[in-house]
């Protein structure tokens, strides 16, 4: 009975996602064609371009190429900062919602999730509109007399981090909320009876128990932040170039380099798989405890 029901799923995801990913892996080892596309000849040129620097004319001794590793490092850093901001804001929010009366919890959660369902492009454009140099935020702050000249927010790392935070915050709140909701407050009460302070209870008792929710939230924010395209592209500038833009550039028009784009995608996917494996392992460890 299971087989015919599952056939459409296998066919769709197998043919239009799994097979393409395998093809992409193969493409990353092919030779590039100049007008976009590939020549079917085995080549390591894409990975070579990523990792090895042979100088402008290719005749210098090979050294490690830093350009692309730098872009990856910057993306990882931006994703880490965005995840941290999400955690710092998301944890108290999730906690606050989970400790409301059951009837009002649903409403709070609904309020937090609505923005997630609004088109990501529209949210990012809205944020850009708000924080641009002569935008409403700067005018408001200048009107208050807090600042004298507009804060140059757009095209900075901060704008990209803010954009990523804004894009993925609900991913942090929801799993932490689920973990806190299951937490038995008898533990807190027992600790309080033994004169533990609020923050000691938080650190010593609550944190270890809700940790799986926190890790899940961090993974759910970190992974899409790493490969994000819209936030860095619209809110950042040349100095905030991230992996997503690097990949997109390789497929734009005739200037692209498909094998290189495929190779960068492969490296990004391996990073994401590593993050997911780390998640699976830490979850398994929590389970055996």
């Amino acid at each position: 009975m299971a087989f015919p029901l599952l056939l459409p799923t296998w066919a769709m995801i197998g043919i239009f996602l799994l097979l393409p990913v395998i093809l992409m892996a193969i493409y990353s080892f092919l030779t590039k064609e100049f007008r976009g596309g590939v020549v079917w000849e085995f080549s390591l040129a894409a990975y070579d371009q990523f990792f090895v620097n042979r100088g402008l004319f290719g005749d210098e001794p090979a050294t490690l190429e830093w350009t692309y590793i730098g872009i990856f490092w910057r993306s990882i850093w931006q994703a880490i900062v965005a995840t941290t901001i999400c955690l710092l804001i998301g944890f108290p929010t999730a906690w606050f919602i989970a400790t409301r009366a059951p009837t009002t919890r649903g409403v709070w959660l609904f309020l937090i999730t609505i923005p997630y369902w609004v088109n990501l492009l529209i949210r990012t454009v809205s944020l850009k509109f708000l924080i641009r140099d002569n935008g409403p935020l700067n005018e408001f702050l200048m009107g208050l007399g807090v600042i004298d000249s507009p804060l140059p927010l757009v095209n900075t790392n901060l704008a990209v981090q803010l954009g990523l935070f804004y894009s993925y915050l609900p991913f942090m709140v929801l799993p932490i909320y689920a973990a806190v909701e299951r937490y038995d407050f008898a533990y807190s009460e027992a600790a309080a009876d033994l004169y533990a302070s609020r923050w000691v209870i938080m650190r010593e008792i609550i944190m270890p128990i809700v940790k799986p929710g926190i890790i899940a939230g961090c993974i759910l924010v970190f992974v899409p932040s790493l490969g994000a395209f819209l936030a860095p592209d619209l809110l950042g500038g040349a100095k905030t170039f991230m992996i997503g833009s690097l990949i997109e550039e390789q497929f734009r028009g005739s200037l692209g380099n498909w094998p290189f784009g495929a190779a960068v995608s492969m490296i990004l996917m391996s990073l994401v798989l590593m993050a997911l494996l780390f998640y699976a392992r830490s979850m398994a460890r929590e389970g055996t405890r």
Binding site: M1, L19, F96, W117, L121, V125, F129
Partner: protein
Amino acid sequence: MKGVRHYPGFLSITLLCLVVLYGPLLVVTAYSFNGSTSITQWGGFSLRWYIDVFTGPEAPRFRSAAWNSLTIAIMAAISATMIATAAALAMMRAGRFRGKSLTFALINLPLMVPEIVTAVATLIFFSMIGLTTGYLTILLAHITFCIPFAYLPIAARLQGIDDSYEQAARDLYASRTQSFFLILLPLMAPGVISGFLLAFIISLDDFIITNFVKGAGMETLPTAIFGSVKLGIKPNIMAISTLMLGVSVLFVTLSYLINRKGRQSP
């Protein structure tokens, strides 16, 4: 004892969270009613940019983009919902079978592969099999990544329905088809509807995958908006954004209400 649940400052952070989440959207909504041609100056309340969206110089472009977005989203959501319903039935009702965990991984694959990687892989695939990029390629890609979004609420709903309903129907000589369409499907309906709505929103929302597989001359609303925004944020973009925002909020509210009603009834 209420004290252990309360942490000072958490309420303010929650409110800050809401301000950050809603601030930009509210500001854009307010400015979409701005009568001035400048996006900085306030020129009084006016609907001129909404009129511009429907009749202005860019109207034909937006209209065809909206038509493409809408028809693709409807078809992708219907297909993904049907595929996901079948998959959920197999996963939740067929007991153990070979390859079950592999199938589960496959269903979740679109959620695990980064969107930009999916975009690259799909473009490479379509170009290799020689399918011209356009409407059809967008639709196929959308159906694929909508499947897990449709699957999650449907499977969750199905898990909560005791199989004694179907067994009772089968005992009373209902055929498999009858017991599915007359008993199980009505019980599953809230999950199926919210699965459909989520898939619809996800399809409508997609930018990056569509941008890769759309081909030249073909636009959906997000790619059309992105193209315009690259040249600067104009007031008509804010009007379109507000309209799309309204549609999203409407759909999510519907999905929320249906789900809540579904949870109360059986």
